[in-house]
């Protein structure tokens, strides 16, 4: 069979695997669900690429001599992108436990592996947090004591937007996310070795309160990291907006990961076209949900036309940014909406790969559009009235290197988590139903 052939081609990885682990189990249907021979390689390659790119980014950033401004913004966009993937997967896994989903069991381990990157993401937040602690105000105006004192508005918000509380919240978020994601992965792997009775019911019980905390931490992390870039602006919808993109990109990631593994002879029989169809449907649903949330937020602010709110959008329609807005409307909604409507698209691997990759790019563009115009807003604020301001898109090499670094490290982290583990929770009592799952 194809899978055994491919597994046989890389025998040199075999000794690296611990003999005591549960990895290497084959499912009753003869499917290869082991990470052996893949995880280590991916970890090494992606890890090396990531570290090199990260060092290059740091080098470029420091040598730019702009007080880390370009680096901070480029890094924040890329970081928000991988954080959204990690949080999206954490939300996804918790949701599957909460609703006791059967269909998703065969892809749930992938979600657990990506979500378990939370400690890594905590580490990767340091390039944002350390400059703040060191007194760099490139990203957040409210970290600048002098400006806070000068502004009545910022002064009023100082109870929430201050460095100490901000760092405290960050620590809390990451401790909680790490604990929860590690818990899901650990329990699930433990089940591979020794099935426990009634465990799904218990997990459902844990998922319910966890979900509340996940929702709250996700919201407030989005407010802290992204919304507070423009400390004057506010939108009650912001957490939901961030969530819609995060959840969509997580579904894209899971579909891509499953298809990539299938290309490497893993999960070939376990993950059927029916599971991919469902992931595709979720992606499609959240494309629409994102459009709904994005439209509602824009329309309400445009309609009411209250200066302190519209200012945020006004900058984002300045100069070249309005083309980005149109590009988002077309590329993040209209085209994928029409393109992914048919079920045949969601069931064809090539088409699904193309669409999910495209949507991941659009998710990055969306975050870029949330973050980068902040710099233009600050320039406009300082600029004398009537003076022309450069409103072209601030593309920079750092955008690419930061994205490359963080995505590579994110993948390397997931591969590291996957070492010596099965890619499917082989002893999950719902696995049989999941394998037999057929879609409409």
């Amino acid at each position: 069979m194809a899978n055994t052939d491919k597994a046989g081609k890389s025998p040199k990885q075999q000794p690296a695997q611990g003999s005591t682990s549960a990895a290497g189990v084959t499912l009753p249907n003869g499917d290869n669900v082991s990470s052996e021979g893949l995880a280590d390689n991916v970890f090494k390659i992606a890890g090396a690429v990531g570290v090199v790119a990260l060092l290059a980014s740091l080098g470029l950033g420091v040598s730019a001599g702009d007080d880390l401004a370009q680096f901070s913004f480029s890094y924040l966009v890329a970081y928000a992108f991988v954080l959204a993937l990690g949080l999206g997967c954490l939300f996804w896994v918790t949701l599957q436990h909460l609703v006791n989903a059967h269909w998703s069991v065969v892809v749930r381990r992938l979600g657990e592996l990506f979500a378990a990157n939370m400690p890594l993401l905590a580490l990767l937040s340091l390039p944002i947090l350390i400059p703040i602690v060191m007194g760099n105000h490139a990203l957040y105006v409210w970290t600048d004591h002098a400006k806070v004192e000068a502004s009545h508005l910022l002064h009023g918000k100082a109870g929430y937007l201050n460095v100490g509380f901000f760092l405290g919240r960050m620590v809390f978020y990451f401790v909680f996310w790490s604990a929860l994601s590690r818990f899901w992965l650990k329990r699930s792997v433990a089940q591979d070795l020794k099935p426990e009775a009634g465990v799904t019911r218990r997990w459902q019980g844990i998922a319910a309160p966890s979900m509340i905390l996940v929702a709250l931490t996700l919201t407030f992390s989005a407010i802290d990291l992204l919304m507070s870039l423009d400390a004057a602006w506010f939108s009650t919808m912001f957490g939901v907006y961030f969530f819609s993109g995060a959840f969509m990109s997580a579904n894209c990631l899971l579909a891509l990961a499953a298809m990539w593994l299938q290309g490497r002879g893993r999960l070939v029989k376990s993950v059927s076209v029916h599971h991919l169809h469902d992931l595709g449907k979720m992606t499609f649903g959240f494309v629409v949900f994102w459009a709904y949330i994005a439209f509602s937020q824009f329309m309400l602010i445009w309609y009411a036309n209250i200066p302190e709110e519209t200012a945020w959008y006004k900058v984002r329609f300045e100069g070249d940014w309005k083309y980005v807005a149109i590009f988002l409307l077309v590329g993040h909604f209209i085209v994928p909406f029409l393109g992914m409507m048919s079920k045949h698209v969601k069931r064809r691997r090539g088409a699904l790969t193309a669409w999910t990759l495209w949507l991941l790019i659009m998710q990055y563009v969306d975050l870029y559009y949330l973050v980068q115009p902040t710099r233009l807003a600050r320039v406009l604020e300082e600029a004398p009235a009537g003076e022309a301001v450069n409103a072209t898109l601030p593309f920079h090499l750092l955008d690419l290197t930061c994205l490359l670094a963080l995505v590579a490290l994110f993948i390397a982290g997931a591969a590291f988590n996957a070492r010596k583990k099965n890619l499917v929770p082989v002893n999950d009592p719902r696995l049989e139903k999941s394998l037999a799952f057929t879609n409409l």
Binding site: L153, G156, K157, Y160, A208, I212, A215, L216, T219, I223, A232, F234, S235, T236, M237, F238, G239, V240, V288, Y292, I293, S296, Q297, M299, L300, I301, Y303, A304, N305, I306, E308, L440
Partner: protein, 470 residues
Amino acid sequence: MAATIKAGAAEVSAATSGLNPYQGPPVGDNVFAKITQNVSRVMEVPKPPRAWYIAFGIALTLLSIFGACLGWVVWEGIGAWGNMVPVAWAFDITNFVFWVGIGHAGTLISAVLFLLRQNWRTAVNRFAEAMTIFAVACAAIFPGIHIGRPWLPYWMFPIPNQMGMWPQFRSPLEWDVFAVGTYATVSVLFWYMGMIPDFATFRDRSTSTIKRAAYGLVAMGWRGSSRQWHRYERAYLLLAALATPLVLSVHSVVSFDFATAQLPGWHTTIFPPYFVAGAIFGGFAMVLVLAVPARQFFGLKYIITIKHIELMAMVILATGMVVGYAYGMEFFIAWYSGSMYEGFTFQNRAFGPYAWAYWTMIFCNVVSPQIFWWKKMRSSPWVAFIVGVIVNVGMWFERFVIIGTSLARDFLPGSWGYFIPTPVDYLTLGGSFGLFFTLFLLFCRYLPMVAMAEVKSIMPEAHVAHGDHH
């Protein structure tokens, strides 16, 4: 056929001997026949249970009060209500949003749960769809009468009128006309289409010519052809896929009525998803309020089981948390925005003259569903019923808090006021329940209360055995 006729006779004799003919396990020689018999006996037995008559009497009384109130308002004008400046929207729009919200769970259960393959929905979806239509009917009355000249509501429709004017399509109130109108139409289509196969069942089981002709007319000659089932299923899926964004859009558009304004407490971007979650929350609560007595009195316990009640309780708990999230987020952002008006509005809600309404809302919507964390409570039908009632009260107060408290105290202290409802206000609100329940009780008596064909299709016996053929 002979078996059913016999069963029918047994029921008739049970009815004459004073027992409730609806109670007792359904009869039939296989699982499909049992389902048919269980659902159809409601229509076949000559007399409904006494509880039905009592409920219908109360509902009719309320309905006549409703009619009298509406008549009085048309004659006297909306001065009959307590509405005044600044609270120019009060019970009228509160009732409208409340009923539209109730009208959401129906399509949600039918469409969204269908797309999510939640098969348990089949037990309650018909109920919920009927509830949707009756609730939307109640809702549609209020914008009609609140315009002051209720004989001119056609001005809201895009028809060429005598004045050469068009409705204002940039106004959220006009969006409402389209959203609610489309929703009512699509809900009726969805409901009717789902009932076609069940009407055919009723037609084929009817013994009287009139019933046979009536059910035959609406069944349109459905005979269960597989070629027809193929298109029917496809159409049902399409309608479900259309109804899902529609149901989101309707309450979102209702929320736009408020959120496009600049009034503190109205203008907040989270309103669309928050209103939708609230509608699902209130709608499911209303399904519980209707389903628990219906299964009790009409002997549908074999179809609407404790498992269904429990699942609905879970949905209520989950959506209750979402609503709680929105309350919290509004409060946080009101402070975070740094806007003194926003800050004041929320302070005023919690500690101002309408604090009683606010805390009633918090208790009903956020605190009371927490009882569903305990499985024992979730699986008790009457606990679920009581929580359902409390949640409905809470959801009414939520709309009142949004509308009333925000209007009563806006930017300018000089224009503040306090709304006091008149008896007509209270009676109109109470009376609208009369319309709802009258329609609902008629539905219970004459239409298939459970989607028989769908329930049958998810039975294990309905699945084709594999592997024994070549």
